[in-house]
Structures are given as structure tokens and as C-alpha cells.
């Protein structure tokens, strides 16, 4: 499969400290690619760099061959990138429906008609019935799992080509984690390209086709699920010692 996203030799720094020290990886179109790594490896920094929140110091980020590196977040959204951020970051004092409207912000008031956005809202409510039940409720009053679903739905409202997800299972109960992963594989089946950051390698193994491992700002492993399970170090660190 061709690469939708190509990141090459990316360096992003906070002041003098380089959080990314030359990251190179690819995300295949139509697939689920998973990025593993310990806390502080630079996974979230990479996500924020792709989404335009952080400005990379060097290197390139290409979406279908077009350079994105250094562009502002609103341009990244317009070009088809949506990030479901770590810790969900819903708008707590806004209703569920306003959160979703905010997700479609760049499509509003422009050429896309109101009807199209309303149709997308209905599709989200179809996919996430819980959000429909709570559409008038303030997002801050939702449970963690519901907030995660809201964050995913909000990102989808921009109709992204590439969906970035930063640790969607963080802090959620096992049953809710299962549900989140079910949604991820549904999105994949519907043709969305997903780039997923996860610590839960067991769950990720069930859905992703390609894996990267990041450590201390560098990619230290790249391979398919089979080779991931065979790698001694990864097995011990991420899958537990039991084979």
C-alpha cells in the first residue's frame, strides 16, 4: 500500500532539549499503524508536530507527497489531519453537540452546506448512540469513556484523511478499552487511515497492521505484528513475559 503520511528525519525541540531526534516513519493508506513506546519517548510530541501544534526544527512531514512540516494547526486540519489528543481534551462547559460542531469548524460558513454537516452529525450519533442520548449535556459531565468517544467523533467531524489517536485507552476501564478498539477497527473497515499511539500493546496487536517502537526520541523498531511478538525486548516490556 502507498504511504499516506511520510515523516522523515523529524526533529522537534523544547528549547534546547530535543524531544524528537530524527524520527522517520510511514503510515500506509487505509491501514492502522501503531506507535508504541514508554512515557517520555516523544510520542505525543510527534503527534503534536504532525498536527501543527508544535513546530518541528528540522525534517519533513508529507501527506500524499505534499509537505506539511511547519504549517499551522488550522492548515493541517484543512489538509485532512485530525488528532484525538491525549487525555481527550473535550470542551468541558460546552454541550456534546457544540463539541461536535467545533470539530466541523473549518467546514462551517464556507462552501459546505449546513445539510452536509447535519448529515455528519447524524452519522456520528449513529456510530456513538451514547452521544446522541447525551447531546445536550455538558461534555465535562460525561464519563471518561464517553468523553473519549466524543473526542473521536469531534475529530471525525472534520472529515480527515488521516486520523491520529494519542493513547485513546488511557485511564479507561478494560470494557471501555475494548469498545474504543472496536470503534478503531470499524473506522478502519470504513476506509479511514489511523495512526495510533498506544501503550496497550495487547489490544493494539489485534487491530494494527504495522508497528513502530519509539524510545528517547528515536524509532527503535519497525515491523508487522508477527515480528513484534517475536522481538524479545518488546515482548518483555509490552506484552509481559508469558508467550
Amino acid at each position: 500500500m502507498p504511504a499516506l503520511l511520510e515523516v522523515a528525519d523529524l526533529v522537534t525541540a523544547y528549547g534546547k532539549i530535543e524531544a524528537l531526534k530524527g524520527v522517520t516513519l510511514e503510515v500506509a493508506e487505509g491501514g492502522i499503524t501503531c506507535l508504541l513506546g514508554p512515557n517520555g519517548a516523544g510520542k505525543t510530541t510527534l503527534m503534536y508536530s504532525i498536527a501543527g501544534i508544535l513546530k518541528p526544527r528540522r525534517g519533513s512531514i508529507r501527506l500524499r507527497g505534499e509537505e506539511l512540516g511547519g504549517c499551522a494547526p488550522h492548515e493541517a486540519v484543512s489538509r485532512g489531519i485530525a488528532l484525538v489528543p491525549e487525555n481527550r481534551l473535550v470542551f468541558p462547559s460546552m454541550s456534546v453537540i457544540d463539541n461536535l460542531e467545533a470539530g466541523a469548524y473549518r467546514r462551517q460558513g464556507g462552501r459546505t452546506g449546513r445539510g452536509e454537516i447535519d448529515a455528519d452529525l447524524q452519522r456520528m450519533f449513529g456510530r456513538f448512540p451514547r452521544l446522541k442520548e447525551r447531546s445536550a449535556q455538558l461534555a465535562g459531565t460525561l464519563s471518561g469513556g464517553e468523553q473519549q468517544m466524543l473526542a473521536v467523533a469531534r475529530a471525525l467531524m472534520s472529515r480527515p484523511k488521516l486520523l491520529l489517536m494519542d493513547e485513546p485507552s488511557l485511564g479507561l476501564a478494560p470494557l471501555v478499552v475494548e469498545e474504543i478498539f472496536r470503534i478503531v477497527s470499524e473506522l478502519h473497515r470504513d476506509g479511514t487511515t489511523v495512526f495510533l499511539v498506544e501503550q496497550n500493546a495487547h489490544m493494539a496487536l489485534k487491530v494494527a497492521q504495522h508497528f513502530y517502537l519509539m524510545e528517547q526520541g528515536r524509532v527503535s523498531f519497525s515491523g508487522d505484528p508477527g515480528s513484534l511478538a517475536e522481538d524479545e525486548v518488546i515482548r518483555r516490556a509490552y506484552l509481559g513475559s508469558a508467550k
Binding site: 473535550v90 468541558p92 457544540d98 461534555a139
Partner: protein
């Protein structure tokens, strides 16, 4: 008892101007997490500019002075943004505080020099109107101040809750990173917030001029202090809080003035602030933090 009611209602009507000023502080704080110390001065400045328009074009209808102040306030809001925020590193918490305090002093100085420090008469509207309910009265000029302020607040709330711009403003004030991820441009929201609060400030300045009957550079400091008190009592970042707190402070200070006189009035307002800081530091309407 009637005196009490009369003072409270006069105070609440005048308090609508405090509410407008409080909204201005609170909106900017909500969006940028910065205090715009120049806001009270810029509002009075807007009122002065509106008055100048009226003086230049003699014979213009008096209500135009309000509209002039409204526009001038918006222009000043934009200028304050450019001078005090746009080129200044926002990551430093003190930088914009200093730049806006500087702007406060500058606006004060400009007003003093252009008017030779003399208070300017301000046209009062409906000051001959008086609604009587037995002994209880509502002054026409205060009623106008109240109604115009309420209309501005209603307009602002409609803007915040019914428009795309309002959606962006609320999103930025609740979660700036997520707002950017939705494609909302922070710089754009910041500058429009300054223009909108400036427009409100111009109206507030004009209303204060109309209610007091004069404009003077001595208005800026008490207005800044009252605006900040209203913002804290209402809850930093909360627009409904600023509205309620503005009316509350207005009514409270007028009642105190009745019983303790004008010299002690502000002392009790400060005590009210102190009580809030101790017993309810988040203010009346502390914004919901959400569960995280």
C-alpha cells in the same frame, strides 16, 4: 425601608455598567488567560472619542455619541491588542500585565493632556424622565443606562452562543489546544475578542458618562478596580458571573453609600471582595473544570 429599596434599585441600574466592564475583563481572561489592565481606561477613552465626534459635528443627534463611543471603543480595543499583546511573548505572565498597565497610564495621560485635565460635560438622555410608583422612583437616565447595557449583553450572549465566532471563542477559552486541533485560529479569536470587548467598553464608558453627567480622567482608576472586583466576584472567565456580580456590586455600594456615606463606600466594596476571596475564591460562577 423605601430608602433602602430606592438605593438598591438605583445601584443595580448603574451596576449594569460595571457588569459590562466586568464582561470585558472576563472575556479576555477566558480566551487568553491574561488580564487587560488597560480595559477600563480604554473604555473611558472610547467615551471621550465619542464625545469628540459630537463636538466636531455640532447639531448631530445626541444618541450618535453612544454609537461613536461604541465604534471608538472597538478601535481602541484593537489598538490595545496590537500594542500590548500582539508583539509581546504571551508565555511570560508578567509581560502583558506590564504592557497593559503602561497602556492604562498612557491613555490616562493622553486624556489629561487633550482636555487640560478639565472634566467634560456629557449629554444626559432622559434625565427629565422619572417613573413614579408612589414614593418609589426610577430615574430615566439610569433606566436608559440599564436598558442599553442589557441590550449589549443580550447581543453578546447571542454572539457567543449562536454564531460560529462565538463557538470558536468558547472553544478557545475552554481548551485552547483542542480548539486549535479543530482548526480554530487562536490569533484570530484573540484579536476579535479585543475588538468585541472594546465595543462593549465604549458603550460602558458612554453610559457612565451619561449617568454621571461628566467625563473625567479620574474615572479610569475606580472603573478598573470595580471591573476587576466584579470579575473576581463573578468568577474569572464567566460571562454570566460578571453580569450578576456587576449588578450586585452596583446595588451593594449604593446601599452602603446610603448608610455609611460616600467616603466609606469603597471600603465595604473591598470588604465584599475580601469575603469572596476567603470564602468563595472561585467566584459566584466558577467555570466547571470538567472531570479529567
Amino acid at each position: 425601608m423605601l430608602d433602602l429599596l430606592q438605593s438598591a434599585s438605583d445601584g443595580v441600574l448603574y451596576g449594569a455598567t460595571y457588569a459590562l466592564i466586568g464582561i470585558g475583563f472576563t472575556l479576555v481572561f477566558g480566551v487568553m488567560h491574561k488580564i487587560n489592565m488597560a480595559y477600563g481606561a480604554a473604555s473611558v477613552g472610547g467615551a471621550y472619542l465619542g464625545l469628540m465626534v459630537l463636538k466636531l459635528g455640532a447639531g448631530l443627534p445626541v444618541p450618535l455619541v453612544f454609537f461613536g463611543s461604541f465604534l471608538a471603543g472597538g478601535l481602541l480595543g484593537w489598538m490595545v491588542y496590537l500594542a500590548c499583546f500582539h508583539f509581546i511573548p504571551l508565555s511570560s505572565p508578567l509581560a502583558t500585565l506590564m504592557s497593559t498597565v503602561g497602556m492604562l497610564l498612557l491613555i490616562d495621560e493622553v486624556i489629561v493632556h487633550t482636555t487640560d485635565g478639565m472634566p467634560q460635560n456629557y449629554p444626559a438622555l432622559f434625565d427629565d424622565v422619572m417613573l413614579r410608583f408612589g414614593e418609589f422612583t426610577l430615574r430615566g437616565d439610569l433606566l436608559l443606562v440599564f436598558l442599553v447595557s442589557v441590550a449589549c449583553m443580550a447581543g453578546l450572549l447571542a454572539l457567543l452562543y449562536r454564531t460560529r465566532l462565538g463557538l470558536a471563542t468558547r472553544a478557545v477559552s475552554q481548551q485552547a489546544i483542542a480548539a486549535q486541533l479543530c482548526g480554530i485560529r487562536l490569533a484570530q479569536v484573540n484579536v476579535t475578542t479585543f475588538v468585541i470587548t472594546g465595543l462593549l467598553g465604549g458603550i460602558a464608558g458612554a453610559m457612565i458618562g451619561a449617568a454621571v453627567g461628566t467625563l473625567s480622567p479620574l474615572l479610569t482608576t475606580p472603573l478598573t478596580v470595580k471591573g476587576l472586583i466584579v470579575t473576581v466576584i463573578g468568577g474569572l472567565g464567566s460571562v454570566p458571573g460578571a453580569i450578576v456580580a456587576g449588578l450586585l456590586v452596583g446595588g451593594f455600594e449604593n446601599v452602603i453609600q446610603l448608610y455609611r456615606g460616600v467616603t466609606e463606600r469603597d471600603l465595604y466594596v473591598m470588604l465584599l471582595l475580601f469575603a469572596f476571596l476567603v470564602f468563595r475564591p472561585g467566584g459566584l460562577f466558577a467555570p466547571a473544570g470538567g472531570r479529567n
